[in-house]
Every structure is written in structure tokens, then in C-alpha cells.
């Protein structure tokens, strides 16, 4: 692992903390599902933390992101709080969307998160439009569009990449290649080369190890700066892996991927473990410091979920509210 010039103890530790916050959030969300306390299903981000954190740590609060069905990680990384997130997952009024959106539509406008999306690839236009706003309104903000390898199947993406390239928009298309779309390996879903697809539209494209938060963050810093400087758009493939099933209910996975493969990623490629080891080796933190970071976060998360479990559902009158804005 290699740090960037502007990396210091403070921002390095913040990256560690943010990755742990995501993992902790997901662990608890999974427990909520397994104990039948959560309505519906949800998609875990565990294993992919370095992607969301490496990128979002290169963004300002006023920069935008769009997210996916697997969106908790992006939401945390862009600055969201546990209490409002758990409340949303449980359909409570205190949630970021008053419980109306749930896991697949969680949005946090104040921190620039334009929302998760339950349509695969469905946010590609939204992200590109946000970049158009920035350009037209003379803001220097950048938008990152997160999506999975599976979303490369959606034609919409190519339409908007073409326009982003024609109009030189400050948008970064971040393709999280976790090797699978639901229960199918990406090699069965994508012909040719992912990066080349963006390049064919005149977009500069990159590939990076999505398990290495420093590598992701270094690249993100460069691209964000260049996008602010009107050199965008960009496309990045981030190679990563999801630890859980496609959703929390996807327990028996051996028919589409081996236990050995899963074990390999978890044991050798874990972004938090490896970054933690690096922090210790580089003497930026001691093992105890990191343990205490993890414990503090777990405690915060436990308190937040406790609160959310006890919080009120929205009142019945809410059902007809917010169909139309005033």
C-alpha cells in the first residue's frame, strides 16, 4: 500500500474509521434481518468498503454521489449518521426518508447523496444531470456515479457517457466490479472489455484495486481534481468483492461461487484488515488504537439501532404526503 502526498494520520485514520463504520452497520443490518426485525430484504456492502471510502474521502460535502441497491456503504462514506440510517431501514419516521424509501432508496441530500436506486443502472442519468447542473450553475462540484458490473448491461449508461463526453461534464463513473450480478458471474454477462467501453466514447478510463483504500483514494483525488478542472468525465473500474450473498437471504451460494473463492477474498484481501495492518506497520496507529476505534463504533451503532428499533413509525396521514411537492 502506498499513501498519497497529502495523506496524514488524521485522514488515514478517518478512512479506517469510515470503513469500520460501514462494516459495523452492515453486520447489524444483517443481524436485524436474521432476527426478523427488518422489513423486506437488503443488500450488504461488506467487503467493498475501500471503494466507497476511498472515493468519498476525496469528495467535498457539496459534491454529489448517486448510489445503488447496495447503497449503505456509499451513504455512510458520504457522511450519513447511523441513527437516521437504521431508522430508514426499519421504516421509521426518523429515517432519512421518513421511512418511505427504505434501504433501496436511502438518500441524504444534506451530504450530497442523491439516493440509492432500485433500478440497476437507473442513476446513471441522474448523476450525469447533477454534473450538468454543476457546470451550468458555475459550481466546481463533481458527481460520482456508483454502479456495479451488472449495470454495464444497461444501455442508458452508454447514452449518458456519450453526452458526458460530448459536453465534458464533471462526472466520474465508478464501476464496482465485484464479479457478480446477482447469481451470475460477470464473464457471462459482459463481452469484451469494460474499460474499453468507456474509452470508445472518448472517456479516459482507469482500473484500480478496490480492496486498497489508499490506491482508490489516490486515484480519486487525482480524478476529482481534474474533473473540477474541466478535464472530465472519467471512468474507473474498481475490482472488489461482496462477502455476503446478493441480498441477506442469499445463503446457499455454492452453485454460483465457491467457498474457496469467498474465503480467499475474506482472508487475504480484506480492505479493513489489510489497511489496519499497514497503519500499524507504518506506526500511524497501534493495535490498541484500532481495537478501540472498532469498539467505539460498535457501541455507537448499537445505541443507534436500539434507538431506531424503539422509534415511531410515520403516522398514517403520511401515506398521502409528498406525492407532490408544493
Amino acid at each position: 500500500m502506498k499513501k498519497a502526498e497529502n495523506h496524514n494520520a488524521e485522514n488515514l485514520l478517518r478512512m479506517y474509521r469510515q470503513m469500520v463504520r460501514i462494516r459495523t452497520f452492515e453486520d447489524i443490518a444483517n443481524e436485524l434481518y436474521l432476527s426478523a426485525k427488518m422489513p423486506g430484504l437488503t443488500h450488504m456492502y461488506s467487503g467493498q468498503e475501500a471503494v466507497a471510502v476511498g472515493i468519498c474521502e476525496a469528495l467535498d460535502k457539496t459534491d454529489h454521489i448517486t448510489s445503488t441497491h447496495r447503497g449503505h456503504g456509499h451513504c455512510v462514506a458520504k457522511g450519513a449518521e447511523f441513527k437516521e440510517m437504521f431508522s430508514e431501514l426499519l421504516g421509521k419516521e426518523e429515517g432519512y426518508c421518513r421511512g418511505k424509501g427504505g434501504s433501496m432508496h436511502i438518500a441524504d441530500q444534506d451530504n450530497g447523496n442523491l439516493g440509492a436506486n432500485a433500478i440497476v443502472g437507473g442513476s446513471a442519468g441522474i448523476a450525469t444531470g447533477a454534473a450538468l447542473s454543476a457546470r451550468r450553475l458555475g459550481r466546481d462540484s463533481v458527481t460520482v456515479c456508483f454502479f456495479g458490473d451488472g449495470a454495464m448491461g444497461q444501455g442508458l449508461l452508454y447514452e449518458v457517457m456519450n453526452m458526458a463526453a460530448l459536453w465534458k461534464l464533471p462526472v466520474i463513473y465508478a464501476c464496482e466490479n465485484n464479479l457478480y450480478g446477482e447469481y451470475t458471474h460477470m464473464s457471462e454477462m459482459a463481452a469484451g472489455d469494460l474499460k474499453a467501453r468507456a474509452e470508445a466514447f472518448g472517456i479516459e478510463a482507469f482500473e484500480v484495486d478496490g480492496q486498497d483504500v489508499l490506491a482508490v483514494n489516490r486515484l480519486a483525488q487525482q480524478l476529482v481534481a481534474r474533473a473540477r478542472n474541466h478535464e472530465g468525465p472519467f471512468f474507473v473500474t474498481l475490482n472488489t468483492y461482496r462477502y455476503h450473498g446478493h441480498h441477506v437471504g442469499d445463503i446457499n451460494r455454492t452453485y454460483y461461487r465457491s467457498k474457496e473463492e469467498e474465503a480467499h477474498w475474506k482472508e487475504n484481501r480484506d480492505p479493513i484488515t489489510n489497511f489496519g495492518a499497514w497503519l500499524i506497520a507504518e506506526k500511524i496507529a497501534g493495535a490498541d488504537d484500532l481495537t478501540s476505534v472498532r469498539e467505539t463504533i460498535r457501541q455507537e451503532a448499537d445505541e443507534a439501532v436500539e434507538h431506531a428499533l424503539g422509534a415511531a413509525y410515520p403516522p398514517a396521514t403520511d401515506v398521502g404526503e409528498h406525492v407532490y411537492a408544493d
Partner: protein, 331 residues
């Protein structure tokens, strides 16, 4: 008779039709080894192989378009659209291409394809995975639209759909996949355009589609306890619509409630109610009642979602009011 789930019924229908006709094949996302997220298609790829149970990328417009072309040239595709909400993505291929090809070509080209998808809320799946969008395709001439209300119906209607020479959209109720019903071992088909009188009655006709047939039946039970005899009619296909059976029933009972899980405004209840109000005008003792889903995006929160769809209680209440002559409106 043996009982099987709606999911098994669909699986059997597809397997039987694929055995009968080599040109039938199925394509969609995660349909092969995974057998769809609802596990409806489990086992089919083992019997028919990956050429006939064809996994696609996540490209709904693309694979629907491919199905249209395949149907025009000798195959009989069944498109598996994982959620009914994704029908918005395939509207051009379905409505501008598949629906119009036979007519535009003056009858030369045909598009014998089936698009299987689903409908139904209260699964805590939020606004983009809970819609019941059958009214949209019912509005487009050239498409047929089937709405099975049980395992028995699902099997018979799907088999008919596969043999139809037109594009057929069939919406299964995703909350009913595990519901069991008696389904004969012997082959049977359910013809399109023939409504089913699920239960006979004298005082009021409850016309329910898909998921709402069960709701209507439960409402009829409640009403029976109030000495009100409700007839329950399931149109089975909304295109073609069996107007005659519906009108026959309403002319007998003089009152009607139409129940459907799509949004109420500009939806299915409007079509059926307005046909009744026009064509049984002189027989009606009360205004026809429409009960659709609320005109709101489906909310995630269970506390809100359950409020959006008709329930046996709300249907029984409305039907009871009609029978008791309580449905006056302002002058």
C-alpha cells in the same frame, strides 16, 4: 386433487409447453441455475439446457427486443421480467414494436411471445419493486393481458399464452408464489376472454383481478356474515375482456365493486366500472364502486404500505354500503 404452489404451476406450464413445442424457449436474468430470485424456474435448465433457458445480462430493453425478433422468425420466446416495475424499461420494444408489428405489416408478420412478470405490494420492497402496472399495457392495442389469481389459473393461462400468436403479457402476483391450490395432473388450458364466476351471489358483484380475487372472496365471507350474498367474478384476462359475463352478473345483482391492485386513477377499475355503468345503466341500484391501490408511490414503511391496497375489510365495507343504499353523493 393434488395441491401445488403458484410457483410450481408456472414451472409446470413452461416445462409442458417446452416439451410440446421445440420452438418455445425462455430468456431473462438469472433464469437458469438460479431459477429466478423467486425460484419459480428451478430445474428447467437441467431439463432443457442453457440454450432454451437462457441467462441474459441485465438488459431488459435488449432481451425483450431480441425476443420480438426471435418471435418474428420462428421461435416462441417467453421473456422473464424479474419485477413488473421493470416493464417501464421495455415499453418501447413491447408497445411500439411487438404490439404493432402484426397490424403494421398488414397481417404478414406475427409476434408470438409471452412476457411473464409480476405485480403486487406489501412485500416491503418499496416504490420500484411493488407496482402493479398491468393497466399500462392493457391500453395498447395488439397486446393481450392475463392476470392469474391462483396456481390453477396461472398454469392454464400461461399455457394458453404460449400458444397464442400474439404478444401476451402475464402478471403473476409475487406474493402468491408459495400459495397452493388444487391443480389437476392432466393438461388443461384456460381460454382468454372468459371470465370465471368464482362464487355465485345475489346482492352485489365483486369483480376482482389477480391478487384481489382472494381479497374479494374474503370480503364475500365477511358479507355473508351480514346476510349479504356477494358474487365474485374474476375476469382472468383484461385484454380481451369478457364484458358479457361481467354485465350478466351485474344485471343480476344490480350492484358492483371493482377491485384491482393497480393505482386507482386511470387504471383498470376505471375501464371495468365505466363499461358497467354504461352498459348496465338501467339495472344499477347503486353507483359502481372502484377500489384500486392508492394514487401514491408504494411506501417502504410497513406502517404505510399496508394502507395503500384494498383489504377484505375495506371491500366488504364498501360493498355493504352499496347494498344498504348508503352511497349517496352530494347534490
Amino acid at each position: 386433487m393434488r395441491e401445488i404452489s403458484l410457483s410450481q404451476a408456472v414451472n409446470e406450464a413452461i416445462a409442458e409447453e417446452m416439451r410440446r413445442d421445440e420452438t418455445v424457449f425462455l430468456l431473462g436474468e438469472d433464469v437458469a441455475e438460479a431459477g429466478t430470485p423467486f425460484k419459480v424456474l428451478s430445474g428447467l435448465v437441467e431439463e432443457f439446457g442453457p440454450q432454451r433457458i437462457l441467462d441474459t445480462p441485465i438488459s431488459e430493453p435488449g432481451f425483450t427486443g431480441i425476443a420480438v425478433g426471435a418471435a418474428m422468425t420462428g421461435l416462441r420466446p417467453i421473456v422473464d421480467l424479474m419485477f413488473g416495475d421493470f416493464i417501464f424499461l421495455v415499453m418501447d420494444q413491447l408497445c411500439n414494436q411487438a404490439a404493432k408489428t402484426h397490424y403494421m405489416s398488414g397481417g404478414k408478420l406475427t409476434v408470438p411471445m409471452v412476457l411473464r412478470t409480476n405485480l403486487g405490494a406489501t412485500r416491503r420492497s418499496a416504490a420500484q419493486h411493488s407496482q402493479s402496472l398491468h393497466a399500462l399495457v392493457a391500453h395498447i392495442p395488439g397486446l393481450k393481458v392475463a392476470l392469474p389469481s391462483s396456481a390453477y389459473e396461472a398454469k392454464g393461462l400461461l399455457k394458453t399464452a404460449v400458444r397464442d400468436n400474439n404478444p401476451v403479457v402475464i402478471f403473476e402476483d409475487k406474493l402468491m408464489y408459495q400459495d397452493k391450490a388444487p391443480v389437476p395432473e392432466e393438461e388443461y388450458l384456460i381460454p382468454f376472454g372468459q371470465a370465471n364466476i368464482v362464487r355465485e351471489g345475489r346482492d352485489v358483484t365483486l369483480i376482482g383481478t389477480s391478487s384481489m380475487v382472494q381479497v374479494a372472496e374474503e370480503a364475500a365471507d365477511i358479507l355473508a356474515g351480514q346476510n349479504i350474498s356477494a358474487e365474485v367474478v374474476d375476469p382472468r384476462t383484461i385484454v380481451p375482456l369478457d364484458e358479457a359475463t361481467i354485465l350478466g352478473s351485474v344485471k343480476k345483482t344490480s350492484r358492483a365493486v371493482v377491485i384491482d391492485e393497480g393505482h386507482q386513477s386511470y387504471g383498470v377499475t376505471a375501464e371495468i366500472a365505466s363499461r358497467i355503468a354504461e352498459k348496465a345503466f338501467y339495472h344499477l341500484d347503486a353507483p359502481v364502486q372502484r377500489m384500486g391501490a392508492m394514487d401514491v408511490p408504494i411506501p417502504f414503511s410497513p406502517a404505510l404500505e399496508d394502507l395503500t391496497v384494498p383489504t377484505p375489510q375495506s371491500v366488504a365495507e364498501r360493498a355493504g354500503a352499496a347494498v344498504r343504499g348508503e352511497l349517496f353523493h352530494d347534490a
